[in-house]
Amino acid sequence: MPSHDLFGAEEQTLASAQELIESGRFADLADGKLYAALVKDYQKLLRATRRLMRLSDRNEEQLNALTQEQRRANEIIAEKNKELESLSKKLSKYLSPQIYQSIFTGAQNVEITSNRKKLTIFFSDVVNFTETTDKMESEDLTNLLNRYLTEMTNIALEHGATIDKYIGDAIMVFFGDPESRGVKEDARCCVRMAIAMLKRLRELQTEWLELGAEQPFHLRIGINTGYVTVGNFGSNDRMDYTIIGSCVNATARLEFHAETDGILIGHETYALVKDEVNTEEHEPIKVKALPNPCAVTRCWGCTTTWLARDPSSARSRTASSCYWI
């Protein structure tokens, strides 16, 4: 509604007042001047009122425009967030869930940095995987391998492992970073996980044989506890969150020397889990690749390594040089 319509009554009052001044009805000059001054003030007041009303309308208009603009911006932001969320969900598949969480919660920076920590490390490998799957079609092999890795990964995550990497059919995980339940509990979780994996593997044998594998799958597992360097390695453009150190190499060697469907654990791991599992002493293993013999001795507990196996078998060997779980 135009302002002259809103102020029609006031305009009418002013017009009447103006007519009164011009009619010369004020005999007293002082009264006339006083009345004219009042009319002038009334005019001014009316102008101010109109001005304030226009200003108020303009401000409201601007506020509405800003609100709409903000709403559109919010919609765009929500859409972008959705896209980012979907993208980050896809990217998260390439990371261990713990690493993903620690990056996305801001607990960890994405930069080349590392720390020394005492972790329990796990290596597993399918015995004679290449020979076992040699005659399988590529698609069947892919299905089989993915099924195997999925099953093992589920067990690893259930036990709180950080999955470092898959190397073909080999799996490397560790416990104690980025989250730790304490060195002892980390070691126990790792051994429990290994036992659960062997158990599940046996359940899956039938399925895999039906898929075309000529022989049942068997695993070798090595577990070791010790200080490693953990963090982001690589370049600023491409980095891996992983662990390095002699203890890691030693674990790989333990896995190599483990018996079929057996778990070979280092001395420090043994010390942390011995009251929970049955073990049997195994003869010492020397790790050739390590440059510093002293470090090897410390990492391996000087002389002893331990062989572990599913406790459900209730086996407890008494041989002098190895321990069976």
């Binding site: 001014k44 102008r47 101010a48 001005r51 304030l52 226009r54 200003l55 108020s56 303009r58 401000n59 601007q62």
Partner: protein, 94 residues
């Protein structure tokens, strides 16, 4: 709002009271005005206009952003009320 403007009114009253027949310049440079502030600006204009009517040389500059139509229109309206004071409506560069 009254508390906010009271020191400004007091300072201006003191200044204009001492100005006599002298000259002064008052700049307004605003990006937003609510209704209360608009009333306060009109009161400031009244004080300046009264000083000018009393013999002072008063120049009022209303500076507005070149893309701010609202401030330009407000300046034009405020300027209409001034008779003794000289009103300057100026667009700011950049």
């Amino acid at each position: 709002m009254t508390e906010f403007y009271r020191p400004v009114f007091t300072a201006l009253d003191e200044y204009l009271g001492a100005l006599g027949q002298g000259s002064c310049r008052f700049d307004f440079e605003l990006i937003y005005l609510n209704s209360s502030s608009a009333k306060a600006v009109m009161m400031l204009m009244d004080k300046l206009e009264a000083a000018a009517a009393g013999g002072a040389t008063v120049d009022i500059y209303w500076l507005y952003d070149k893309e701010d139509d609202t401030m330009q229109e407000l300046g034009e309206e405020f300027g209409e009320d001034l008779e003794a004071a000289k009103f300057h409506l100026e667009k700011m560069a950049g």
